[in-house]
Amino acid sequence: MPRKRAPQPGLFADDRSPNVITGMEPLASDPNQRRIKVNGKIVATLRTGDVADLGLAVHLAWTKSLAQRVERVLAIDKARQQALALLSARALSTKTLTRRLRDRGHSESIVRQIVDEVRRDGWLNERAYAEEIVRNATRRKPAGRMLLEQKLAQRGVEPATAGRVVRAASDAQDDRAAAYSLARRRLATMGSVAPDTAVRRVAGLLARRGFEDDVVEATIERLRTILPSISDAHD
C-alpha cells in the first residue's frame, strides 16, 4: 500500500507566497495513485478517483478548506484500508468492525461511512457472519438456542440478525433429537455410573450447551426410563 502523506500544517502558517498545486504525477508503482505537490512540496498521495472528486488540478489554489477536504479523504482512505485488512483477516460483525475502527482513532462520521461502504460492497455481511458462527458452534456438538444466542452476542452480532439466524438454525434442527443424541454420546463416555449420576451429568451438559428447559426435561425423562434397564446390565 503506498504511503500517504498528510497535508503539512505549516504550509499556510509560514509561507506568504500563494499556495498552488504544482504537480499531480502518477506513482510509478501504482498509476492509480497521484502524488500531489504544492509549491513543489509533496502534500499528499491520493487515488485518481479522489483527485477527480476533489476537483484537483495543477495551478489550482491550495486553500485551507481544500487542504481540510484532502485531509478527510486521506483519513477515509486510511480507515477503508484498515477495515478491509480487518475483514480480510477474519469475518466481523458490524458492531465489532465499528469498535475496531473507533479504537484506531477514526471519527464517528468516517467510521459510519466506511462501515456502510464495506457493507454495500459485500465485505461485511452480518447474516452470513452469524450463520458461520452458528455452523462452527454446532459442528462437533449440537447446541441449543440459548448457547447460540450467547455466542452471537459475544461476537457482537446485532440482536435482530442473531434472532433470525438462531430461529432458522432451530427450525432446521430438531432440538429434542439433537439433545437426545448429545446425551447418548455423553453416556457412551461415562462408563459405569449410577443412573442418577448419569442423568445429573447429562442434564448439566445439555444446560451448558444451551438447550431450553423443556428440551432438557424431555431428554432426562426419556433417559430415566431407559437407563435403569441399561445400567442393570452394565453393572
Binding site: 437426545y180 426419556r222 426410563t225 431407559i226 437407563l227 435403569p228 434397564s229 441399561i230 442393570d232 446390565a233
Partner: protein, 104 residues
C-alpha cells in the same frame, strides 16, 4: 420389569428409530431370560445403530445362554470389528475377553 418393557415399548412407539430405547428393551428381555426376544431386539438395535457396540456383547451373551456358542462367537467377532473401527477400546476389550472365554 414387565412395566419397564411396556414403558419402553410405549416410548418406542413414539420414536420408532430410537436405538437406545431398543437396546434397553433387549436388555430387559435378556434379564427376563427371554433370549429369543432379546436377540431379536439386539438385532433391531444394531440395524438402527451399528455403533452400539455393547449390543453385540449382550446379544452374544443371550445367544450363549440359549446354548448357541457358535452364533455368540460370530456376533462377538462382528462386534469386535465394529468396536475397533469406532475406536471404542473399552467395548473392544470386553468383547475380546468374552470371545476368549468362549473359545477356550
Amino acid at each position: 420389569m414387565h412395566d419397564r418393557i411396556e414403558q419402553l415399548k410405549k416410548m418406542l412407539q413414539a420414536e420408532p428409530d430410537d436405538a437406545f430405547c431398543m437396546y434397553g428393551l433387549a436388555l430387559e428381555y435378556a434379564k427376563r431370560g427371554d433370549a429369543a426376544e432379546a436377540v431379536s431386539w439386539f438385532d433391531r438395535t444394531i440395524a438402527a445403530d451399528p455403533r452400539q457396540c455393547y449390543a453385540y456383547f449382550h446379544k452374544a451373551k443371550s445367544q450363549h445362554e440359549a446354548g448357541d456358542a457358535t452364533a455368540a462367537q460370530g456376533t462377538l467377532q462382528t462386534g469386535l470389528r465394529q468396536a475397533r473401527a469406532m475406536g471404542d477400546l473399552k467395548a473392544a476389550s470386553e468383547i475380546e475377553a468374552f470371545l476368549d472365554e468362549l473359545e477356550s
